[in-house]
């Protein structure tokens, strides 16, 4: 089972990892974008942690809704609304608390679909979607195979990381990187890289 504290811990760990990896994310964005992805997420996730500390939410759903709302309010750019919608949609989908792995997997899938709908991106477009969809698939399989929460989240994190690395040879079809045409090939997508960090964070706090 995944309780409210776990979700709070998820965002604290995400914020820590993003702060640690901020310059790498910004460098990735500099190569095929505008060099602000790390700064933007760092700003947004630390605001999320402040908000969660200021008034501790009573349920997983509340944690996710608060986080999503703050990301939309504070991050800006493309990633703000996209990540914001991911978490808000998950918050909407998760009615139970504590949360079962199955419930989480379903909510996560809903969130990824929300991103795809908002950004009109599909796998292969070299976006965060390329890290998020493999993670979602890994969660679904884990539920089917009945593996434990931690193992499932580790599988999801691995899948996300793999998905992020897999964006390197892709030519971007969405976002700023698409302006580069062929020149976007050979660089990891910053949003995919940050998505992989979020799942790494979840796996480690569930450990």
């Amino acid at each position: 089972m995944m309780d409210t504290d776990l979700f709070v811990a998820w965002f604290e760990e995400s914020s820590r990892l993003i702060r640690r990896e901020r310059d790498r994310l910004t460098r990735l964005d500099a190569a095929i974008g505008d060099a602000d992805h790390g700064t933007n997420l760092d700003r947004g996730f630390s605001e999320v942690c402040k908000a969660l500390a200021d008034d501790p939410p009573g349920s997983a759903s509340e944690v996710l809704t608060t986080a999503g709302t703050i990301l939309i309010r504070r991050v800006g750019g493309a990633a703000g609304p996209l990540y914001g919608s991911l978490f808000r949609q998950m918050g909407r989908a998760l009615r139970e608390s504590p949360v079962t792995l199955a419930g989480f997997a379903a909510a996560f899938e809903d969130g990824v679909v929300a991103i795809e709908r908002l950004g009109k991106a599909t796998p292969g477009d070299k976006t965060m979607v390329d890290a998020l969809t493999p993670a979602s698939r890994a969660l679904a399989l884990a539920v089917r195979d009945g593996v434990g929460v931690h193992e499932a989240l580790v599988k999801a994190a691995d899948a996300a990381l793999e998905g992020a690395k897999a964006t390197i040879p892709m030519q971007a079809k969405k976002g700023r990187a698409s302006y580069l045409g062929q020149r976007s090939i050979g660089h990891e997508d910053p949003g995919a890289a940050s998505a992989a960090l979020l799942l790494e964070a979840l796996a480690s706090v569930a450990g």
């Binding site: 505008d34 800006g76 750019g77 493309a78 079809k173 700023r176 302006y179």
Partner: protein, 326 residues
Amino acid sequence: MKKLINTADSVVEDALNGMAAAHPSLRVRDNVVYRAAGPRPGKVGLVSGGGSGHEPLHAGFVGYGMLDAACCGEIFTSPVPDPIIEATTSVDGGAGVLHIVKNYTGDVLNFEMAAELVEGVEVASVLVDDDVAVQDSLYTAGRRGTGATLFVEKIAGAAAEEGRPLEDVAAVAADVNRRSRSFGIALTSCTPPSAGKPIFDLPENQVELGIGIHGEPGRTRVPIAPARELAGVAMDAIHGDMPLRGDLLVMVNGMGGTPLSELYVVFGEVAAYVKGRGARVARSLVGNYVTSLDMQGFSVTVCPLDDELTRLWDAPVETPGLRWGR
């Protein structure tokens, strides 16, 4: 990195405070720049915005004959929905509000969210996507909004001052965007304060073709050439996309770090090119208007004019960045 700033985090706020101090005709609240006079009843409100770093765009175009409010995001980061909602509500004079949005995923998403969430205000939007360096296809996010944003804000602003209804103003704005084409060339990259170093490195003998206004690298890299040739490259790209004919509004825009004298050299070549194609420069603008921080380079934007658009372009405007007729 060497910049005239206090801290990388405070640069947008500090610059806006300086603007407010310099221009009594403006008010700044929560990184939104407003006309001090407030909304005019019955006039359509114009709200634009986007990431900062393109000054004078957008904040420098707030005032009579152009914008009612500009929402300023962090450097190169589109603003979040809240200030856009706040601005939209504040400038509504009862006739509705037009959002002028440059076509970037972040700008589009945040303005869309704001438009959905705002209450009690009729909102229309126009997307600016004039940059011919990008193919508008399934394989891209579509053309970027660059220099034409100034044309749209000026001409739609003039239409709004005449008291025209929202759908008219939106239609004029869309028409200007549809007619406009731009192409940009960079001699250097630019350095966002928070990044601390140039977004890309350009060898001493190379220029970047088809750049946008966020320091993104362009489509290709070629050796530096005389201004005449570089102007030719930009004009060929525009002419190839939209054959030049008739009366044109032509802007040679500096990317922020290029001195005015060089922009005039480029404009001389652009004017000769236009003449050579049998078209005519009816109106022109030369200067740093839609910039990319300290980037050196230029962009050309062309918009064919008819009598009505010419009249609206010539109409009085009084903003920090563009002023004539009053």
